[in-house]
Amino acid sequence: MASLIRTVKGMPPTALFGAAVIAIYVLVAVFAPLLAPYSEREVVGDQYLQWSAQHWLGTDNLGRDMLTRLIFGARNTLAIAFFATALAFVIGTVTGLLAATLGGVVDQVLSRVVDIIMAVPGLIFILLLLTIFGTGIVTLIAVIAVLDSTRVFRLARAVAFGIVAMDYVEAARVRGEGLLWIMRREILPNAAAPLVAEFGMRFCFVFLTIAALSFLGLGIQPPLADWGSMVRENATLITFGDITPLLPAAAIALLTVAVNFVVDWILHKVSGMKD
């Protein structure tokens, strides 16, 4: 606890701001049912109601409460983005470390497969896969994770290559240690810092991808609330000078900025750069 307080005290204002924003988002996502005035799918009034005491942010194209949808949106979008990123990291880190540790044929095969996946424009590839496998939440997470794991793979492999050359890894090899032990105990702890920093960055991109897919109608499916689809569904309001549909977009933008502030700070700490 004391070390946590010390870390918070040492943070620059930007990182502090970022961390605070992320904390609020997480709290909102976790306690969404308690915070939201109505339920996620409930039609509570007419379409496109103005902001009022009953409906702080008005209602959407089906007459659902906008504030409620915004709050639940945090839950759906954040959770899916988090799991997709986490899965991408598991896949990417394991394959990346394998490629670096074993080298040779394993490295060649894995790297070329990754090259091929990366050669296809991401969004188009996802659209293709989603049309083939359908648009469930699980498929969505899996497809995004596999595609994003290629970038994690490259980072993990590059970082691990520098570590594999170290004498302590050599010492572990000639001691007779198994592959798993070498990867888990000798390499991973030393590669963790850049991977953690990358996690924040990738999380942002995954978040944007989901929003983009939802905007296109292929992401999170109705009636689940999601920021990307909320923008799409209510976009007509913009023509009437109502900024309500921009709020979910602003929520996305704010989180992206916040995460990047924190990532920036972590990178600084990790690389040992002096301000």
Binding site: D167, A171, V174, R175, E177, E186
Partner: protein
């Protein structure tokens, strides 16, 4: 150049110099009030162990501090000009034209994309001292002075096309391009082999003398400084210990610390009680090895007697570290065989059994890369015990503590430290403990003392000798340092370009007549005698003429 000062005024005078470095948000003193004076044409030697502040003072003489450091007080006057707090433009103008700097690694200091002469002429032309043609002609003249081969042509090569020793001399030539009043040499020969070091030292010394340049010579090697400097200052922890003319300093050091530095090279392993010949632990027979097409070892054969130390000596590129990799199984031999206690070892480590792997352990040169920075001492030392001997829980803890006691580190203090919380010598001790944890028969020590200060290196050798006597260990000691070999070896193997040149008991190898290469190696080791270099170069000239 017209000068206002009287000719006997000091060229550089540093008074009460204080420099601080930032560490964890606090400014800590690195240099604590050092005074020094360099006269025109004088070579001033700065000696000290790493962290003594000698390089920092060297840079401060140019009015410069590294990132994360600052001047905290004092004055640096160069030819009457105060450099601390002087405008950047003034300091930059002085640099290279009146003060020049020669760094430890010439390879890292030259731009690999330009030819040597292009980099050489840059400053004289920029400072409008010469035209490009004049500067090039002058460069050739300087290359000749520094005894570079083919002085007319060598400047038109790229840095990677000349050897390390030649590059270091080319860098010295570059430093002299503007005929500066002062040159700062920061360990210019530390990265070189002993035989190359001699050429570079004598070339630098002759050039400095003939041009009458003043110099500050920074080194940790006393014998080297003794050859180069007129006056010597001994530094420790940023403070002056002692300053005197070189000869006085060598013959009658006043301070205890200086005396201890002088005495390090006299360490010798105590003689053995039993003179009985030892049985053979490892037999290396006609071993060949290659990296791809490039053959690095051919027909290596020698024996390692049990409980003895075999020193493998040779310059970099002689294949001695490769031999260690072959024995460890990291680089499977192409031909020949390695026999341990009567049984042939499989060439690759993957084919070796756990018991076979346990018998041969290695201590690495760079303790920094040899220890996993994310593991605590407990795990680094404990893992081999657990892995090979299967101990867990209390037994593992007890054994780990015992090992730390054996290597003279207090387990209560060091057991849960990370490598970053240890000093260089302590890291190396942990490296030794990790090797011993496997309870091996043979320990390969690859240059284990070369990255350590002399005092620390000596204590390391003492520790290794004691452990050997206690546990009947066999050492294969890879080194380029003849003083270390004299101190602890029983047998010596001399290698050159992947073959064994000479091998036998230490006394035989060190007693004349020598093999010509052994002779060259032995004579190249700097001695603590200011006349050693002159004597050696004079003798070499006589033999060549």
């Amino acid at each position: 150049m017209p000068r206002q000062d009287p000719p006997d005024a000091p060229l550089l005078s540093i008074r009460d110099l204080r420099i601080e470095g930032k560490a964890q948000d606090a400014w800590l003193p690195i240099v604590k009030g050092v005074d020094l004076t360099v006269k025109r044409g004088e070579v001033f030697g700065l000696i000290g162990e790493s962290g003594a502040g000698k390089s920092t003072i060297g840079l401060a003489a140019m009015g410069f501090v590294r990132d994360g450091c600052r001047f905290a007080g004092g004055s640096v006057k160069f030819d009457g000009i105060e450099l601390i707090g002087a405008p950047r433009k003034l300091r930059r103008g002085l640099r290279s034209s009146r003060i020049a700097y020669v760094a430890q690694s010439a390879a890292a200091s030259f731009n690999p994309a330009f030819r040597l002469i292009d980099q050489h002429v840059e400053f004289p032309v920029l400072r409008r001292l010469m035209t490009r043609t004049e500067a090039e002609a002058d460069a050739v003249e300087l290359y000749r002075k520094l005894q570079l081969p083919n002085p007319d042509e060598i400047g038109f090569r790229y840095p990677h096309q000349v050897s390390g020793g030649q590059l270091q001399r080319a860098m010295t030539a570059m430093a002299m391009a503007c005929r500066p009043d002062l040159i700062i040499f920061d360990e210019p020969t530390t990265a070189l082999d002993v035989t190359t070091q001699i050429e570079v030292l004598s070339a630098i010394r002759d050039a400095v003398q003939s041009l009458g340049t003043a110099a500050i010579y920074v080194s940790h090697d006393l014998a080297v400084v003794a050859q180069m400097a007129d006056r010597v200052m001994v530094l420790r922890n940023g403070e002056t210990i002692e300053e005197a003319p070189t000869r006085t300093m060598l013959s009658s050091p006043r301070q205890d610390y200086t005396k201890s530095l002088w005495a390090v090279r006299s360490f010798k392993a105590p003689p053995r009680q039993d003179a009985a010949p030892a049985s053979t632990l490892m037999k290396i027979e006609k071993v060949d090895a290659a990296y791809g097409e490039h053959k690095v070892l051919s027909g290596i054969s020698f024996d390692l007697p049990k409980g003895r130390t075999v020193a493998v000596v040779g310059e970099s590129g002689s294949g001695k570290s490769t031999l260690a990799r072959v024995i460890m199984g990291l680089l499977p031999a192409r031909g020949g065989r390695v026999e341990l206690a009567g049984k042939t070892l499989p060439p690759g480590y993957r084919e070796r059994s756990k018991a076979e792997l346990r018998q041969v352990q290695m201590v690495y040169q760079m303790a920094d890369t040899a220890l996993n920075p994310r593991q605590r001492v407990r795990e680094i030392v404990g893992r081999p015990i657990r892995f090979y001997l299967g101990l867990t829980g209390k037994a593992l803890e007890a054994r780990t503590r015992q090992l730390l006691n054996d290597i003279e580190l207090d387990p209560a203090v060091y057991l849960d430290r990370l490598p970053s919380e240890l000093s260089g010598g302590q890291k190396q001790r942990v490296g030794i403990a990790r090797a011993l944890a496997a309870d091996p028969q043979l320990v390969i020590c690859d240059e284990v003392t070369s990255s350590l200060d002399q005092l620390v290196a000596e204590s390391m050798l003492k520790l290794l000798v004691r452990l050997q006597r206690e546990r009947d260990l066999t050492y294969m000691f890879i080194t380029h340092d003849i003083a270390t070999v004299r101190a602890i070896a029983d047998e010596v193997v001399v290698m050159k370009e992947g073959v064994v040149v000479e091998s036998g008991p230490k006394d035989e190898i060190f007693r004349p007549p020598h093999h010509p290469y052994t002779e060259l190696l032995l004579s190249s080791v700097p001695e603590m005698d200011p006349d050693w270099l002159s004597r050696l170069t004079a003798r070499n000239e006589n033999t060549t003429v």
